[in-house]
């Protein structure tokens, strides 16, 4: 465990196909060969990915916080009908960077592309997305790009935000000062696209602008060179922008409380509790309704259809009804729950609150040897662990990246939420929201405890890194953006259900169809006599000290290694196959689960349930996360991580069961 993977230098720039994610970005497509390549660059949170989505119809993850994009996105930019030469462009969405002097792997992607050291051609044209509200720091990149003969267009975003803050930018004067076209646009509201298309078309058909001339400087004096660029930028800004003296804004007044020493952390916990309480309260009736629909009319219709063709008692009917309908159908009843939670989190992200949360948690992060910035990938993990692992690239220090990537699996992803909700509504129906919230608090505690343990064993000498976090202004979330982000994530959930989980259901069904004991034949075997049960019974023994040594539960946990949604589908399958009246209405599934815990816990049902939840939270989230870890931190650290997760999960579960049962 001595070598750290040299993260940026050997990573391929294009095409970057990310590991499959619950709700990650699509890898993107390219225009036809020979199409001009246009790159979107700019400081973090300037609106590049929102513009990329507006131009390509893509679905890159967007958010009002720095570090949302850590991989290169690629798409086809088709011009509108009445514009331009009609030729499509190959559009690249690059991770945010304040300059071409990279300090972290995500920034290095951008730097390498323009240095010509990436395995991709230098773009034919660069659109610098510049935030009008923070013009000076947005133009440093322009100063650097203009030091070579390049085609550059500046897309000025956040003009409305700037004006509310007393900053007025004259695009015409800025064009003259910078020597490149400047176009005002608002990607969130999809305005200004035509003007950008025309500017890009004109620039592509003209020779590249001559490099700006610099004064006499010694190129290896980094600070002197930077000062010259700042002076050039200051000149442009003073020519084109008027600014009234800064006065406290609503954002400032809110931030005084949101980031305050005691109120800030409490508010963060309150906000997260509100999200989960609202999610479970609103979603539960909808989920019940869908559950009854799946187990009632849908199953009855399926049974009727099989009856019509004389296959009602065949293995095909068993596979479809006990497997697909029970397994995948149960999972689909969680769509309203996921949609509500994703929408609430999207609202928080778009509002600008999440960057404040990183500031609030800085002290805790430091205790475990990580910079506050590491909170950003960790908070992404609460949605899905896969993009969270990729988001560790925003951290400059390789050891911080490895440590964060090892901690991400302990953040409770949304897939685990489905199981929490089923368990909480089964065993704690009146306080389900609070139990679910407690799991998220426990998740944070696990991150801290495991982080502390790692720091005191493997990373005793890890250095501290400064937290300098650019806080975006609060903004009113737009319906379009919230709906878009929500749909992107729900679609990811549906894809998981329709892909990985269908395959998992098929495998589980196959294992359940093979008799090992008893007198059954293929496809007609009591579940307890099947190969699946035999394997699960062998594994279940390991969970005896934790109080849930039941083969249905052990089997579900093994299936959950592939994807956590598989825990539910596996339960639904195994109990449906055992129930001659299948499909399985939600309350019947809950009754089966309740009975299983009652039998396996020796009467200490609550202790066993808590132990199960701890195990579920801590053990390996899914195969996609393992693949993402392997890509980011290498095979050995990934293997170490799996062992760590399983050890923490088992020890934690056993400890919880043995301690809690003493008090029940």
């Amino acid at each position: 465990m001595t070598s750290l993977r040299p993260a940026p230098s050997r990573r391929r720039l294009l095409p970057a196909r990310p590991a499959p994610s619950c709700h990650g970005d699509s890898p993107g497509t390219a225009a036809t060969t020979g199409s001009p390549v246009v790159a979107l660059v700019g400081a973090p949170n300037a609106g590049k990915s929102t513009l990329f989505n507006a131009l390509t119809g893509g679905s890159r993850t967007v958010g009002n916080w720095p570090g949302t994009t850590v991989e290169v996105g690629r798409g086809v930019w088709e011009p509108t009908e009445d514009c331009c030469d009609g030729a499509a462009r190959d559009l690249l969405d690059l991770p945010g960077a304040y300059s071409l002097d990279a300090s972290s792997p995500d920034e290095e992607l951008t730097a390498r592309l323009f240095a010509g050291t990436a395995n991709a051609p230098v773009p034919d044209l660069t659109v610098v997305v510049a935030d009008a509200a923070h013009l000076a720091r947005s133009l440093y990149l322009v100063a650097q790009l203009r030091e070579a003969d390049r085609r550059v267009v500046v897309a000025l975003t956040m003009v409305d935000v700037a004006e509310r803050r007393g900053v007025v930018v004259d695009a015409g004067r800025l064009t003259t000062a910078l020597g490149v076209p400047v176009v005002e646009l608002d990607p969130r509201r999809r305005s200004g696209r035509d003007a950008l298309e025309q500017a890009v078309t004109a620039a592509l058909s003209a020779p590249a602008a001559a490099a700006r001339t610099r004064g006499e400087l010694v190129d290896d004096d980094e600070l002197a060179v930077a000062d010259e660029r700042f002076a050039w930028v200051d000149g442009a800004v003073s020519t084109a922008a008027t600014e009234v003296p800064a006065t406290p804004t609503v954002t400032d007044r809110v931030d005084r409380w949101v980031t305050a020493p005691v109120v800030g952390p409490l508010l963060f916990l309150l906000v997260m509790w509100g999200v989960f309480e609202l999610t479970t309260t609103v979603a539960t009736p909808l989920q019940d309704l869908l559950g009854r629909l799946v187990s009632g009319p849908v199953t009855a219709a399926g049974r009727g259809l099989f009856g019509l063709v004389g296959l009602e008692r065949s293995w095909v009917a068993g596979f479809v009804l006990d497997g697909l309908v029970a397994g995948v159908g149960t999972l689909l009843t969680f769509v309203p729950l996921m949609a509500i939670m994703f929408a609430l989190l999207a609202l928080l992200e778009d509002s600008g609150y999440m960057a404040r949360a990183a500031l609030v948690t800085d002290r805790v992060m430091r205790r475990i040897g990580l910079p506050g910035k590491a909170f950003l990938p960790l908070v992404v993990g609460f949605g899905c662990n896969v993009p969270a692992i990729s988001a560790t690239r925003i951290l400059p220090d390789a050891r911080h990246r490895v440590m964060t990537a090892l901690l991400v699996p302990f953040t409770s992803c949304s897939a685990r939420l489905t199981v929490y909700v089923l368990i909480a509504s089964t065993f704690f129906p009146s306080t389900a929201g609070t139990v679910v919230f407690a799991m998220y608090v426990l998740s944070i505690v696990l991150v801290v405890v495991v982080g502390l343990a790692l720091r005191r064993t493997l990373w005793r000498t890890v250095g501290q890194e400064a937290l300098v976090l650019d806080l975006p202004a609060y903004q009113r979330p737009t319906l379009r953006l919230t709906a878009s982000v929500t749909w992107l994530r729900v679609r990811g959930f549906l894809r998981t259900a329709g892909g990985i989980i269908v395959v998992t259901v098929m495998v589980v069904w196959l294992l359940q169809a093979v008799p090992v004991t008893g007198s059954g034949s293929f496809g007609a075997v009591p579940p307890g006599d099947s190969l699946f049960a035999a394997v699960a019974k062998g594994i279940a023994v390991l969970f005896a000290p934790a109080g849930f040594a039941d083969w249905h539960t052990a089997g579900a946990l093994v299936v959950g290694f592939v994807a956590k949604e598989g825990v539910l589908s596996s339960w639904a399958q195994t109990y449906a196959a055992a129930d001659p009246t299948a499909g399985l209405p939600p309350d019947a599934l809950q009754a089966h689960v309740h009975a299983a815990f009652a039998a396996s816990s020796g009467g200490a049902v609550g202790a066993a349930v808590f132990a199960f939840l701890v195990f579920l939270l801590a053990y390996t989230p899914c195969m996609a996360t393992v693949a993402a870890q392997r890509r980011e931190i290498g095979g050995r650290w990934t293997a170490f991580g799996i062992v760590l997760q399983l050890a923490v999960a088992w020890v934690g579960a056993v400890a919880v069961f043995q301690i809690v049962r003493l008090f029940t």
């Binding site: 304040y98 300059s99 002097d101 300090s103 509200a133 923070h134 000076a136 720091r137 440093y140 700037a162 803050r165 007393g166 900053v167 980094e222 600070l223 930077a226 700042f230 600014e243 800064a246 406290p248 954002t251 400032d252 931030d255 005084r256 980031t259 305050a260 020493p261 005691v262 800030g264 952390p265 960057a355 404040r356 990183a358 500031l359 609030v360 800085d362 002290r363 430091r366 910079p371 506050g372 501290q464 400064a466 937290l467 300098v468 976090l469 650019d470 806080l471 202004a473």
Partner: protein
């Protein structure tokens, strides 16, 4: 504070919210100063301390930009009186 830091400079971490002044890079390493400068926090910039954060750091305003700084960085940076 090092010898070349003006005597009237105070560590940012000890400055109360609401105080305005000019930024001095204090004891911050030069390379770290470059990253701050790219965000707008350059030596001599007019800054206002807006809030003390939960980790003991500071939230500062530089023009329309709002930047959160951790405690250690706030201790290294200094604030000079606005008029000096």
């Amino acid at each position: 504070m090092p010898l070349d830091t003006p005597p009237d400079a105070r560590p940012l971490a000890s400055v109360l919210p609401g105080t305005a002044g000019r930024l001095d890079l204090g004891t911050l390493p030069r390379t770290s100063g470059l990253r701050l400068a790219q965000l707008g926090l350059r030596a001599g910039a007019a800054v206002t301390v807006l809030a003390r954060t939960s980790g003991g750091g500071r939230l500062v305003a530089v023009g329309t930009t709002r930047i959160g700084l951790d405690r250690d960085t706030s201790r290294q940076l200094a604030l000079l009186p606005a008029a000096s």
